[in-house]
Chain length 250, copies 2
């Protein structure tokens, strides 16, 4: 990047400029080939400069003065990982004085991505020749010590996810358009980090009225399982009045 | 304030510095002497300088480089209005490029205050001789056109309040420690902006198991009404892991 020297006259009592950054927490449900239940995973970027050089960190970067917050989050996420979720939701603004050697306020966005979307977008990124060697997916439950306050940010994202599951259909973000009740239960189990009784889960989901049965079944090594879909009449991410006001400008 | 000249070397492509501000939305339930149901109100500050000179705006100011976000929100709120809520919750970071003539990212906090707390704190502020002539309370439903995007911010705060009412006991923030079911229903009616059937409301609240009846009754012009209180075992504002991590430093 070009080095630009800027002279700023401030009328406040700032001894040091406060800078604004954006970061993103992208959560997916990853199923390994070990027969274990799926687990929540997220992409991290290895830092190539100080501070915290060589530590893993959330994808992100500086806010440009001509871009909106969500645009900046989408841009820096795509630049570093090749990922382009269909929506990003604002998680929180982290601004503790001591979170970085210099004063940085980070506006953090988050999204859920299906693992097939992750695979497709990552493959496209690799094919473009821009594949970053410094991006890697980690299980959320067993993260190393990350740069800055990023462990705390991931914890908060998981807390929000657990909370949302109770009153919205956030698990949908992890699942393809049609899925079995076992798929859905495994998503909830990964989010809540505990096992759920299959019969109770089926009763609760059916009573909620948010799922529509399809005429299709998944066949395989087990007995055929009916595929369900969510009722499209309800928005996946209800951001209220801001959903239209703050839409991306590009 | 003193004018300080700072020279900043930036490695990004910024042509203009991005500044960070904080604002607060303080909502209370105000009952006028007109016999009408209580209505949601909030304090606004008349701007004394450009941009938007003479327009009403949310209490707020610039983030200092040595204070945390919530500290800055609490400080600027107290400086302008004399109010000191026991907690502030982060509402959202507003950062659209065109929300101000210069580039400003505003981290907005919000809180609910009981009207008796408002009265006590405002009176103390007046007595201190620091009473601002430029602060006034407005009904949320009939706001004038505010400075910047502050109408949108108030709309968003009310949307969050309506949403929280459904799954938490946010109405508690408006009510004294003990209250009648009619008090509680009027708080919900003000938040949701619609009338609720008293008998249905009573059934739902009693079924929720969140209220504890006391042995006390309110007497007056109507028949005695039992006073209730919330079960203290549950937090009023559940901010999850951040509640302890981001507590105020002063």
């Amino acid at each position: 990047m070009t080095e630009v020297k800027v002279t700023v006259t401030r009328t406040e009592q700032h001894s040091e400029p406060i800078r604004v950054a954006v970061s993103t927490v992208i959560l997916t449900l990853r199923r390994d080939d070990d027969g274990e239940p799926p687990r929540i995973a997220l992409p991290l970027v290895r830092r190539t400069r100080a501070p915290h050089q060589d530590s893993w960190s959330l994808p992100g970067g500086w806010l440009r003065d001509d871009e909106n917050l969500e645009d900046a989050a989408a841009r820096t996420l795509h630049e570093t990982t090749g990922l382009s979720p269909s929506y990003l939701e604002q998680l929180y603004a982290f601004g503790a004085v001591d979170r970085s050697p210099s004063r940085v306020v980070s506006i953090v966005y988050w999204a859920l991505l299906r693992s097939d979307e992750v695979d497709a977008q990552s493959a496209a990124h690799m094919a473009s020749g821009l594949a970053p060697e410094n991006v890697q997916w980690f299980e959320a439950a067993t993260l190393p010590t990350l740069a800055f306050d990023h462990n705390q940010i991931v914890d908060y994202a998981q807390w929000r996810l657990r909370n949302k599951v109770g009153y919205s259909r956030v698990a949908h973000g992890f699942l393809p358009p049609t899925f079995t009740l076992a798929d859905l239960r495994e998503a909830y189990e990964a989010i809540l980090d505990r096992r759920l009784d299959p019969a109770n889960f089926r009763r609760q989901v059916e009573a909620s009225g948010t799922l529509l049965p399809t005429d299709q079944f998944r066949t395989g090594s087990h007995r055929p399982a009916r595929l369900y879909r969510y009722d499209d009449a309800v928005e996946l991410a209800d951001r209220g009045p801001l959903a239209t006001e703050e839409k991306r400008t590009r």
